[in-house]
Amino acid sequence: MTKRSNEPLLWLLFSVGGVVAALLIPVHLFLFGIAFPLGWLNAPSYDALLALARGPAGRVYLLVFCILPLFHWAHRFRYTLYDGLQIKHLNELVNTFCYGGAIVGAIVATYLVVRIP
């Protein structure tokens, strides 16, 4: 390979994050933002949700749900800054801000999910 590029990894995270964001976030918004408050569906109790989040599958789900869309955002926002503001020459700064932001977000999410009592 002439120049080893980490674009495949970033693109993979972008794609997977996009799928997660597009499939799961609308479902959560619909359930917790519309259906439960309007009483279309019976809202689960706090204890039932906590029990769900506390289990290993629940924790993994929350991590995937929080972290992958962050990397989707990072990649998309990087190119928005590159092309929208035309600041490709500041690429090191932009990359650090975008992917660094996603990494910080991932660490915070992991900390919070691990600390679910």
């Binding site: 390979m1 002439t2 120049k3 590029s5 674009e7 495949p8 990894l9 693109w11 993979l12 190119y79 092309d83 035309q86 490709k88």
Partner: protein, 248 residues
Amino acid sequence: MAEQIALEVTRFSPERDKVPSIQAFDVPLRKEWVVLDALNYVKDRVDGSLSFRWSCRMGVCGSCGMMVNGEPKLTCATFLTDYAPGPVRVEPLKNFPVMRDLIVEITDFLGKLSKVKPWIIRAKKKPLSEGEYLQTPDELDTYRQFSMCINCLLCYAACPVYGLDPLFAGPAALALAQRYNMDSRDEGKSERLDILSQHDGIWGCTFVGECTEVCPKHVDPAGAIQQYKLTATQEWIRSLLMPWGGKS
């Protein structure tokens, strides 16, 4: 007198002008006339110095691509009546340096095209006496759509990424590379991988999709590039897991 339509054409002579200007002509508005007919009318009857490329008049040669009212179009397939009552503005293809009037400099594209090796590569060529490389209709169908490209460069004029970053390989070159990657007779995938998977190759594309929108031959370069991003990522994972293994 027959109905007329105003044709506004970009004029630029490198010897005479510092910047391009617009010149307006009145041309007959005929039902069967395309923009190219109007340009030829001007060249034959009004101003013989108007310069533009054209050849086949039937959407095959890919020479007559220009901006018509701001959109990249084959002028031989764009009817004047669709723009009535006018004016119709004809400009050289966007994102390319202008040589004269409506003629753009396409050397950059030709260099990029040959770089992606758009031809059948064989590890070992078989002698003519052993016959052709055979292919089934199903195998043909996998890449047929991408082989319809006529290099008219409308996709480069439509691509905002190419407009911002001239190093980007661009839609047609990448789609044609994929056309050969998908050809069952080809053995050059790994040779092309190194070229295509660079930053200025497929990764430059941000999937705006305008290339596919404007393609007069329905090639879908945007689809080809996304398809290849997946292939390149699979190869990247393979090389990560099996650094000793050869590329497929």
